[in-house]
Assembly symmetry: C2
Amino acid sequence: MEFMEDALKNAQEAFERKEVPVGCVFIYKNEIIARGSNEVNETKNATRHAEMICIDLVLSYCKKLNLDPQEVFREIVVVVTVEPCIMCAAALHNLSVKEIVFGCKNDRFGGTTVVNVFELLQSSVKIVGGVRDTEAMDLLKEFYKGENPSAPLPKTKRKV
Amino acid sequence: MEFMEDALKNAQEAFERKEVPVGCVFIYKNEIIARGSNEVNETKNATRHAEMICIDLVLSYCKKLNLDPQEVFREIVVVVTVEPCIMCAAALHNLSVKEIVFGCKNDRFGGTTVVNVFELLQSSVKIVGGVRDTEAMDLLKEFYKGENPSAPLPKTKRKV
């Protein structure tokens, strides 16, 4: 899938900026209108996930072209390398995006895995997971290996 | 509690702007450093909840005063008139705020009621609910009464 290729490139770029490597693109009428990746470390703002970056870019896009954001979001397909976290999942539900396509699962924070936010909120968003998941996961593993050699793999749940 | 008084004022102000009346203040070292209320309708951005507005204001505050946002957020007490939704609850967890004080419950979207996001994410955020909850709920009831034309009619007898 060409769009996931683009999202993976953004994840790679985040990796190079020493951010958790998650990349994302937002598709509107079969065209990419926003590209994003994690900016948490750079901004020291733990909410600046790839999806949140893209949400803001779509709003700027709508403003520029004088489009109604509500209508645009309803047609948006989100393509993201890692399953959206609970915060992003709820944000995407709030915006009523059309579809979410993700790569690998997010066993610690995932908004469909840890808890199914979409089910809880009776969402009609279509969700497809597992698209090029190995590549997405490899990037995460590489990142966590580099960051903290003694850290468990991202898939391992933290013990309390 | 004086801070909830301030949050309720912000909720009232949102009501007057025809937004879902939720108001919020963020406290740092016993002082209000951010005030926010819903801006969803105005911005046509369903993620612009009171808490998200305040998060951005805290980041501006930190930039201006050259403070580390991570350290500041760790000391923040969030005072909000309505229980944070799942998105905001997860965002506040991500930012590791110190404490959340809320007014009334949010039975449809609440991040502790519909699902306990903090428990799921093994959060150490202290949470206190029910502070001046009647006033917060009254504002919501008043708003939805005015907004929803299909809401049940008041039980006054119609003259024939």
